[in-house]
Assembly symmetry: C2
Homo-oligomer: 474 residues x 2
């Protein structure tokens, strides 16, 4: 039985997406144009993402700080590529209190400028290095078209900004954080990730190079889901971050930055969810298990209480729904909300010494004995759901992954069943732009696949330099 | 021995304060005027405050959400008292991307308007109530004079916003959250709090009434440290938050809001810290224990490793400083940073089967046996520090608490040794304003002390209505 409030995913993917966002109470449009309200169910997913990532960031030596949300225009303009990239989409504060400001202030679209300015004050000696800082905050980019989680004017994210004494150390950091994201996608979000460098055209404004985590949505559209940038000394030179090295010589520092955002909630929806609502991998679900007692029996209630206690003590995030609504209503609601495991306790089952477990991913139900090791049963079930979601996403991605150096094939794929297209590329921007002309394909990333002598660019047929993954993007 | 980088607290309190902020690396001025950078040591205290409070908020049934940071001017203006109170100190976005906006947008100074607008959409039936939401976010108020943590244009805080079906429920919520803050101040921050209602003049713009948590700083100046507001139906009427009650009649809802901010870090500094730097109560210290191994002995190193492991496993926040700096340098640094307990492990002590524990609050050192129960020793020591800091702060507050209905006495107190002054008040605003004329005293709060027939207003000598706490404020 299908949830009638939700449009079918295969019928109208865009409408299905907004239905999920609405029906699962993840986000609501606000009267501030282009900005959404993260409702409790949506924000709880973000909190869970934060708690997992923050722990990893700290374990890898990073510390949290908080920078101002406003950037004076002259500070923003010190690095020319960055300002070209971001100034056109800044929101500007021009009035403070009762006065028109002498200099307008941008709401941060990203904080390289603020961190660099701060580092220029604090970094004087190799002994001050590295500094491995991160902040969880809101940023603002004046987008024209917006969609909840995928693209909104304001969004929540984390941005790591590090400064190092050597190129090697900074490059190692860039790669390390890429792998932190990749692992997070695979182990927590159950989303297989394709990683690599962005092309010159697609890299972050001001970066020497950008690594990206690309994920493929159910409809074959790619989502750039996290990035890690190596800056070399570009910002250090623009913001004068100099230090005395071990040889007592002044030198410029090396920097990185890396970030991921609430956009990952959009990825979770578009990779795993179905026509019955949200589907969440247990490892990232804020609420992993719901217990639904059926009927008024004291025995049922006692068992529900017992399970609630035992599962909570085992650090499983569990709650009991003993509201006065009907079981069918509750089942549907918890399905829409994507609770991975439901425990149904009813008098009829109990008479047989059994209870029912329902898994959200496949919607299968199974009976287990009342006297089973419930913690173990639930943990095994969650492990199985987590694995199944990853396997299912990987299978879908593989089905939608193509390899061709024939441009007419590329065109056909994009028109019929888009996905990740692996095609060789000569490295020239004009060929990259040509790809965009046919169906709006952009390069997702450059893979590290070796290129043979005979390999030719999919567009110009000249000697290939790289194997590139292409796709339509959000 | 006194830390030479820090001005004496009794000599120049204001300079001492900024010295602590700088030397303990809590915050740094930024090039965005009026805004500070929270550095790792400062932000970690905020994170600890957040983790404690967030847990309590959730245990009391609240959920986190995220509202936009920008408020359209027309939305802000719907509640007249609020807009009068806050519009003069808003920062305004007037340009978005390349375009001048049709309507300017305020960076939120507080979010009653956004929550009320949202609730008007979501609350339709008594079944939708209560909604108990909170957000952790940044807000902006265009202050002229700023000081780190105490008053900055941008600051971090939490704001709870709840909506209820009945007056009784909303009033109970207002009081409940006041008590959450009071307990937090006493149990975690080790700061005795004076609580009560604000006068009409001092209450929050738009509130029916405001409860406040007032703390007394070492120099006798009061700090409004957290507030809890009851709105009645004022915002519900302005933003049209109506629902069908159990009798199937439309009625307006009742609301509250309550908040506390990074200002609490300022309170921690000004209540507990001393001429050697920051002093942190163990219950709120991000790092509770530092182990300092002295010398190169393998035995010393092994014991340091062992303690690090044991204490970590007991959920004590501990770290080991095995850098190549001198012990004296390390001791001073960890003192400046306010680490409550230091464990010194040296070869000489070890030869006697002993190690040294140093407590930050009194700077006393004591020897304990190597084979003691180190977890127990540390836990007891932290408990003792926590209690001592509270007792010390209470003693100081009591010393600086006065009771008089003689206005010449009030004047004298304020000029010589200010503090909390308990004086009767008739309830008239002109008398409140008169108090302000003498030394800038403001009412802190109305106490619930009973007033006798013979009690007279400290200013006009007419019949008293309330016992009020007065003081100079930050």
């Amino acid at each position: 039985m299908k949830n009638k409030a939700i449009t079918s995913r295969d019928e109208d993917f865009a409408k299905w997406y907004t239905d999920i966002v609405r029906c699962a109470n993840l986000a609501e449009y606000s009267n501030t144009k282009g900005c959404v309200i993260l409702e409790p169910n949506g924000y709880a997913i973000w909190e869970k993402m934060q708690s997992v990532l923050d722990k990893i960031f700290k374990q890898t030596g990073h510390q949290n700080v908080s920078m101002p949300m406003l950037i004076p225009e002259n500070l923003l303009k010190k690095e020319s590529e960055l300002v070209e990239g971001f100034a056109p989409e800044c929101a500007w504060v021009t009035v403070g209190g009762q006065n028109i400001l002498d200099e307008r202030l941008a709401i941060r679209p990203t904080s390289e400028t603020l961190f660099s300015d701060y580092y220029s004050l604090k970094v004087k000696s190799y002994r001050d290095l590295p500094k491995l800082y991160n902040q969880w905050c809101n940023v603002m980019r004046w987008e024209k078209e917006t969609r909840p989680f995928l693209r909104t004017r304001e969004f929540l994210w984390q941005e790591g900004h590090t400064v190092h004494a050597t190129k090697e150390e900074a490059e190692a950091e860039t790669l390390k954080m890429l792998n932190v994201y990749k692992d997070f996608f695979e182990k927590y979000l159950a989303i297989p990730a394709v990683c690599g460098k962005k092309t010159e055209k697609e890299k972050f404004a001001g970066a020497d190079y950008t690594y990206t985590v690309e994920a493929l949505m159910y409809n074959g559209v790619s989502l750039q889901s996290a990035t890690s940038h190596y800056f070399g000394q570009k910002f250090a030179k623009a913001y004068d971050i100099k230090f005395l090295n071990k040889n007592n010589e002044w030198q410029y520092a090396y920097q990185t930055s890396w970030g991921c955002s609430t956009r990952m909630i959009g990825a979770l929806i578009m990779v795993h969810s179905d026509d019955n609502g949200l589907v969440l991998p247990p490892n990232i679900a804020p609420r992993q298990v719901v217990i639904v007692p059926i009927g008024e029996s004291a025995e049922v209630k006692a068992l529900a209480d017992k399970y609630l206690k035992i599962l909570s003590e085992a650090n499983i995030s569990v709650f009991c729904d003993d509201s006065d609504r009907s079981p069918g209503f509750k089942f549907a609601e918890h399905e829409v909300n994507g609770i991975p495991v439901r425990i149904e306790i009813g008098a009829r089952d109990l008479a047989n010494g059994e209870i029912t477990l329902a898994r959200r991913d496949t919607r299968e139900k199974m009976n287990v004995k009342v006297d089973c090791d419930i913690v173990n049963e639930v943990l095994n079930l969650m492990k199985s759901i987590q694995q199944n979601l990853y396997d299912r996403a990987l299978k879908r991605r593989d089905e939608l992954t193509y390899r061709t150096d024939d441009i007419s094939q590329v065109e056909k794929i994009i028109k019929t069943k888009p996905g990740f297209i692996y095609s060789h590329w000569c490295g020239k921007q004009e060929c990259e732009l040509k790809m965009k002309e046919i169906g709006g394909i952009k390069s997702r990333c450059i893979t590290d696949e070796p290129v043979s002598d005979g390999d030719k660019c999919v567009v110009c047929k000249e000697k290939a330099k790289h194997m590139v993954v292409w796709g339509i993007q959000y």
